[in-house]
Symmetry: C2
Subunit: 366 residues, 2 copies
């Protein structure tokens, strides 16, 4: 058998970049915005983002507090490098994005994972978070919506986190909100809403997921001024600012965000329904219906030893390799996301490809 591989492991959707972003980018090129832009980012984009948080979250963010970066990973790197000192600890609910531990380590810190329970739908366990905070803890790192979980924290959960920050006045919080446009109940509140904590709260976000602009490499960092100023300085020293004509496209994407998000959501919601309906017929795979984004985290423990003594697979990596070899489905083992025994599977694929993938998954599991 020589099957083509269906890539369910990737961190991107099948959506094309919204045409409004492309047209605005092309207009900027026609106007020769092909020269160096400001290191901090195009004023128009920083203002459009400030306007977004004012309109959607009701909070005034000075445009000067927003740094445009070469993608969200870059925003994370600049922030962590600006904040952390050697030996600092970063507490984060697990599972988490696989790049976090190394990004933290590269800035001299150490990630301290706090596993969330999928049987409680990855509820934020604030007591557990509190118990892991030590004098070395500098930062609490939230991902909302979650990757790979698709978990969206309730307002009550976020309030508990805010209360925790009040308890620990030296603790910072970073909220990675890169999937925030893809919430199935509508756009999500940003952690920036907790205005009294503004001197310790930062947000990273970007255009790769919510706007299907992964190849544009545009992200941003909103951080307290002393940290932001350091991040600005590092960006200037290490790399310089982002392409101005690409940023012109991002401006138009942000301005038309609600229409774009509505369209993506509608299509993704149908896929989510279809995937969960099919998965529910596979009792060996446990999963939680995602609140946002386009991943399902499948727990495959029941397909592995020791839960299934007859299984040929000890590790989830072996299961995933067989899934790829035997039926041509590539999924992402979540071991390095702090969730051994699980895989991340994307459903942001054209319908025919998704149906094909689900058939293959059924064939493999049964």
């Amino acid at each position: 058998m020589n099957l083509d591989i269906i890539p369910l492991h990737l961190g991107l959707s099948h959506f094309h970049t919204p045409s409004v972003a492309i047209e605005a980018m092309q207009e900027a090129v026609a106007q020769h915005q092909t020269f160096y832009g400001p290191n901090e980012g195009l004023p128009e984009l920083r203002y459009a983002l400030a306007q977004r948080y004012l309109e959607d979250d009701g909070v005034p963010i000075p445009a000067e507090q927003i740094l445009i970066t070469h993608g969200t990973k870059h925003a994370l790197h600049l922030y962590l490098h600006s904040l952390l000192q050697p030996g600092d600890e970063v507490v984060a609910p697990a599972p988490y994005w696989f790049a976090f531990p190394e990004l933290v380590r590269q800035s001299g810190g150490k990630l301290v994972p706090v596993p969330a329970n999928p049987e409680e739908e990855y509820r934020l366990n604030v007591e557990e978070l509190r118990s892991r905070i030590t004098p070395a803890t500098k930062l609490l790192l939230l991902t909302n919506p979650g990757n790979p979980t698709g978990k969206v924290y309730s307002w009550a959960e976020l309030q508990q986190v805010a209360a925790l920050l009040e308890e620990f006045p030296n603790l910072h919080l970073l909220s990675d909100e890169i999937y925030d446009g893809l919430g199935y109940k509508g756009p999500l509140p940003s952690f920036l809403r907790f205005e009294s904590l503004r001197d310790r709260v930062a947000v990273v976000n970007g255009f790769s997921k919510s706007f299907a602009m992964s190849g544009w490499r545009i992200g941003y960092l909103i951080a307290p001024f002393p940290i932001l100023e350091k991040a600005v300085e590092l960006q200037q020293k290490w790399i310089s600012g982002v392409s101005p004509f690409l940023q012109a496209g991002a401006v138009e994407a942000i301005r038309q965000r609600h229409r774009i998000w509505q369209q993506f959501r509608t299509e993704l919601e149908a896929k989510r329904e279809r995937v969960t309906t099919v998965l529910q017929k596979m009792p060996k795979l446990q999963f939680t219906v995602p609140d946002a984004g386009y991943y399902v985290t499948l727990q495959v423990d029941r397909c592995l030893r020791p839960q299934d003594p007859a299984s040929p697979f000890q590790l989830v990596e072996e299961w995933a390799a067989a899934l790829k070899d035997q039926v041509g489905l590539e999924v992402l083992p979540a071991t390095n996301m702090g969730m051994p025994g699980a895989v991340r599977m994307s459903f942001a694929l054209p319908d025919d490809v998704l149906e094909n993938a689900l058939l293959r998954l059924q064939a493999f599991v049964s």
Copy 2:
């Protein structure tokens, strides 16, 4: 007087990005190359660059040895961070690009400048370079063509550097060749031609200067494999790869480089002639006719105390500030480029603006 400022201090030309690059980029967008690209860079661009060095320099560079970066500053940062250990010294002829000392420092090293003599047309002083090499010296950092000098090293000078490297078998060399398309005697030989040194020689380059694509943020690093692999890893961990549709534009720029360079050169050469003719009438300003690029380095010592006891200016910064205040010309003091008493002045401006700038300069100096 309320003059508009003519910016002669900037590190970019007035040229527009070549239309072939824009068209190729737009074609890639039309084909939806708007998703994540490979971290190392688009294969087409890496192959086009390899082909360039094969055709122009006669040296086979594996495409796998070329890392596409978010601009040349980024290539420098990745290279220096991959090579240097704390305490390492980097010997570099001065003047040099102002970002070098901090880029070296950020990677744990220390820049050791070796001043070149403008009265010898910034000849490479190999004896002086040798005398600054200690057991702590890890790297020799050349800029060819020079910034701000516009100096192009002769083949004989480069051979002397190669011989120096043979003497010090642990010494690495980095050649920053970002202005290489703008040599007035035609394109420059790359230091990559010294094939026997390939395991210690790296090159950084990019599209900002020779292709007027400063806002595209595309550079590249060619380095020995162990260093390149580390740089690839850092790019993956810190930021991810460059926009694939922008790289598609760069492919076409490289393919049509000789036509593009010829056109830029022809126009810049006329400006260079005009500028040097006018400057020769200002004996208080000393300068060397550049071999490449669009800067003239003006020595203004004769306008400063103590050479001119009647001068109101002690420092070149004061002279430059007065130039801006009194006649609206902004130039770049070269103090932090390792050349106190000098300024960098760009002549890559539309003819009418350049004429206006030269009139203002004459008025100020006389």
